[in-house]
Symmetry: C2
Subunit: 248 residues, 2 copies
């Protein structure tokens, strides 16, 4: 969770975007949303975009008239900007900055990440108030991100870095890879089965086994997959035996 990492939106134009920002803030965790001189702030237009889960973040926004005023309580502030070149300050990517942001927060700091309005970004006067500038890597085709998407990427990087344990998703535990002994058993079983169904030339089966062996080496089977393939081979050989019985 990202308590004490707040999102400051400077002169945002569309309440709907602020709603989308609130949702991103709840997805990734964020302390508070602060608005600086919002153009048409309208809670009712913002709420639907936030989903009902993140409505509380919109109802508790702090509003200031200048960025300087909004930044007063923060120990460190990061301004975001689309890459334009010619900057005098060093600029970092979110991935570079996130460990430091999280470290500053963990050391008791209160951090602000500052975003400009949708169309123009932060003014030079505003970026000068920030302690560090950040830019999100993009292609050269379009360097300017949608406001809420930019907030999402910044908080996503901070959230990943704030996890003390790697994020693990629910899922069946994975079987171990098979070992060399099992691999040999599998190859033998496959060879015998493929000979019995007349798929392999019994005069030179090893030659035709080569691409199959390469295939299995590349996919590196797990134990459950080994059991599946062994069972499949056994069943094929059983059917072949029945068929041969009938013929006889």
């Amino acid at each position: 969770m990202l308590e004490n990492i707040d999102v400051i939106l400077c002169r945002p134009k569309f309440p709907e975007n602020i709603g989308s920002v609130a949702r991103a803030c709840l997805n990734m965790g964020c302390g508070q949303i602060v608005l600086v001189a919002p153009l048409n702030w309208d809670l009712d237009k913002a709420l639907p975009l936030a989903t009902h889960h993140a409505g509380h973040l919109l109802k508790s926004v702090r509003i200031h008239q200048t960025l300087a005023e909004a930044l007063a309580p923060y120990s460190f502030s990061y301004g975001t900007t689309a890459r334009t070149g010619g900057w005098r300050q060093a600029i970092q990517t979110p991935e570079e900055a996130a460990p430091r942001i999280v470290e500053q927060r963990n050391a008791g700091g209160r951090i602000a990440i500052v975003f400009g309005p949708e169309d123009k970004g932060l003014t030079n006067g505003e970026t000068d108030l920030c302690n560090q500038l950040l830019t999100i890597p993009t292609t050269d085709n379009l360097t300017s991100l949608n406001l809420s998407q930019a907030v999402m990427v910044m908080l996503y990087e901070c959230f990943k870095k704030s996890l003390t344990k790697p994020f693990k998703v629910a899922g069946a535990p994975k079987d171990r890879y098979i070992n060399n002994e099992e691999r040999e058993v599998l190859f033998n079983q496959l060879r015998e089965t493929l000979i019995e169904i007349d798929f392999l030339n019994k005069d030179n089966p090893e030659y035709f086994m080569l691409p199959l062996k390469r295939f299995f080496n590349r996919i590196n089977p797990r134990l459950n997959e080994y059991n599946l393939l062994m069972g499949l081979c056994r069943q094929m050989r059983r059917i072949v035996a029945v068929a041969k019985d009938r013929k006889a």
Copy 2:
């Protein structure tokens, strides 16, 4: 650029979201947008959200009626899902999957990243059609992302991994850190200056220099900062000399 990594949107409800997706696709690079049974596809509603830069991605969307049909030309498909637990398939994070996605693409594969509708996500039938499931790490408070933000995070991770060189932002080249010799010169200059302006007790200046030394050790000054501080000290000593002359 992410040519041959396409975004497939299953049953999207709001054309505006598709517009936002197009903008994210142009920011991060993406081959094509594919719609599966879109609910109310309306190019005119989608275009404003894409900005005029990404309009061409909307005008060239491919539309299919089923996901199976849409997936036909792809060598590998990744389905995205909000974490819900109880999955039988192993699920990866975008960060885990991105190197493999980029590797498959670089090896000539054509990759699809599949997203469900805004409210419900992909059905089990649809996730079964995907070769791998992905989920974006979130807090437990709200695990479901806005559609275009989810697309942004996925493509952002792929874009970062696709860069052959690290993404470097424009900015003045950084000066090197000062070395120990310079550090000593700086400390001496500071000590003498602070004694001259009666800031340091001249009977025991080292004792009072300690917190200052700690401060400078922590900030690890660069050469331009060293030059700035040395110049500042020289100027202070010059002023002090003038003041003393006047007094005398």
